[in-house]
């Protein structure tokens, strides 16, 4: 241990080093890698060079209308069409949000699909989702879709206890018949390996993938099978050294390099039961799976899926560029979702009402001096959401000054200092000390008090 110790002399400086090559502020913090990492797989050291992700065609897909909708009352057709329209603007012309999947079973499902496609957006491409039932291909075909997801559950929990197959061979044959039916209909099958992180990888999953690859070699490239790796219960683990079937790196490696499924035909689909959902999706990207499947605001079955907007910021951080993404649409989507009753927690990253609102006076002091001290990136430029301060007795006069300057839109030397707002600061403190208030002060209340106690500023900046 002593041999590892070394001295670390102070590197004195007369000015700050703000690490702007990592924290450019105009973009989310960039994710940079030094060198390849090594994962031991079947006793062999395997290198993965995450730096390659910058040039790989990594993508985001969406399942807001399928998995996302399984977690809430149904959306109306109009709502889905509007969300799809905004999602298309968010992903931009390069199709960073490449696909969105739709149910096909009801009249409303089909009308939604038709109206979304009628918008004429190139991206997200519309794909379907059906059970592993041959007759369901009629729906895919009638809808004119080129690709559909098919449930091919792969853990023995599902094979034996849910689907009641006699043995694994019967199960695999049944799945392959469905894949054949898709080929015959000219529809590209996307096999959803449900419950993959609880499956017998060597005993069932890899032989099944080998067979799918063999079948794919017999059909045109555009029909070849895609594989969705479904961490149905959120058991996946991103850490190096974790064992199969829970290891995300090893799962990707096995399918990608041992079975030869190309990266662009691998898609990670996670769940958030253990708070690992976004990290696991990003890990899948890094280890060679090009596509991560997401839902808006992570809304999905039980604890939800990887949040689409989280994947968007991860994408920008990995690429170092917006790549045509319009991040401002995230705020529009959040406002719209709230307006139709989707509860987004106030503290939810990038979208909650208070995601960049500070309550501590000492943080507000930092914000007042330089918003970069306590803001994650230029949230006003990227999300239309400048950092805010919620006013309580803990906000301090710094917090109050920040609130007022933001309210009047004052920057730089025009900002009002703390001294000028002492009457308002007194009113805030008295709310708690004298009147026993226990709640935060709303923007509406403060606005009224600003008008009353700072009339000269109101007149100057609000004009009436």
């Amino acid at each position: 241990m002593d041999k590892l110790r070394k001295q670390h002399p102070l590197v004195d400086a007369r000015g700050p080093n703000l690490l702007e090559d990592i924290y450019p502020y105009s973009l989310p913090p960039l994710i940079r890698f030094e060198r390849p990492v090594v994962e031991y797989i079947d006793g062999k050291a395997v290198e993965f060079d995450f730096r390659a992700v910058k040039d790989r065609d990594i993508l985001i897909t969406d399942t807001t209308f399928r998995d996302g909708q399984q977690a809430r009352p149904p959306y109306t057709v109009d709502q889905m069409v509007h969300i799809y329209d905004l999602m298309s603007r968010l992903g931009g012309p390069n199709g960073v949000i490449r696909q969105s999947e739709f149910f096909l079973y009801t009249k409303n499902d089909r009308e939604t699909l038709d109206r979304c496609r009628a918008l004429g957006h190139k991206y997200p491409e519309c794909t379907g989702w059906i059970r592993a039932v041959k007759g369901d291909f009629r729906l895919v075909k009638e809808a004119g879709l080129k690709e559909t997801g098919i449930l091919t559950s792969c853990s023995d929990y599902h094979i034996f206890h849910k689907l009641r197959f006699r043995d694994r061979a019967e199960c695999m044959n049944a799945y392959c018949e469905i894949v054949d039916a898709a080929f015959e209909e000219g529809v590209r099958p996307r096999c959803h390996l449900e419950d993959l992180t609880r499956a017998d990888i060597d005993g069932f999953v890899l032989p099944f993938i080998d067979r799918l690859m063999e079948m794919s070699s017999q059909v045109p490239e555009e029909l070849s099978v895609k594989i969705r790796l479904c961490d149905t219960m959120g058991f996946g683990i991103s850490y190096p050294g974790a064992e199969l079937p829970r290891s995300v790196p090893k799962l990707i490696y096995k399918l990608n390099r041992e079975c030869g499924v190309p990266s662009d035909r691998l898609e990670w689909h996670g769940h958030n039961d253990f708070h690992k959902v976004h990290a696991n999706a990003a890990t899948a990207w890094l280890y060679g799976c090009d596509v991560v499947n997401t839902t808006l605001f992570g809304f999905g079955e039980r604890t939800g899926n990887p949040p689409l907007e989280g994947a968007i910021f991860e994408y920008i951080a990995l690429k170092g560029d917006l790549c045509g993404i319009d991040t401002m649409v995230i705020t529009k989507l959040a406002d719209y979702m709230r307006s139709i009753g989707l509860p987004i927690p106030d503290s939810f990253p990038f979208a909650g009402r208070s995601f960049n609102t500070t309550r501590a006076g000492i943080h507000a002091d930092g914000l007042r001096r330089d918003e970069q001290i306590y803001n994650i990136f230029d949230t006003e430029k990227l999300l239309g959401r400048p950092p805010r301060v919620a006013i309580t007795d803990k906000s301090g006069t710094d917090g109050l000054a920040h609130w007022i300057n933001e309210f009047f839109g004052l920057k730089g030397k025009d900002r009002i200092n703390k001294i000028k707002i002492h009457k308002l600061a007194r009113w805030v403190i008295d709310q708690y000390d004298e009147h026993g208030r226990l709640t935060a002060i709303s923007d509406q209340e403060l606005e009224a008090k600003v008008r009353e106690l700072l009339p000269e500023y109101w007149e100057k900046y609000k004009g009436s």
Binding site: G361, K418, I419, I421, H422
Partner: protein, 85 residues
């Protein structure tokens, strides 16, 4: 006419609800006289009003004691051409 020190003590007594006779030149506004955060702001605002001056916020709030406040205000008055004699 009251001196700067007397006027500073009078304002301090009014804001902190103290007897002016209790306030000594060497007293710290926060430690000895018990000024809370918002009262420090009120003190600076009231000194500005009392003397008809504008003080730099950070500099004014960094003044800790009564005698230092007297010095600081005297200097600001001089700079801003305010007659306090």
């Amino acid at each position: 006419m009251a001196t700067i020190e007397e006027r500073v003590k009078a304002v301090t007594a009014r804001i902190l609800k103290l007897d002016p006779g209790q306030i000594k030149a060497e007293h710290s506004f926060t430690v000895d006289l018990g000024a809370e955060s918002v009262q420090s702001i009120e003190l600076v605002a009231m000194f500005e009003e009392e003397f008809g001056i504008e003080m730099d916020e950070d500099a004014a709030l960094s003044v800790e004691t009564v005698d230092k406040a007297v010095e600081f205000i005297a200097e600001v008055c001089r700079q801003q051409g305010v007659d306090v004699n």
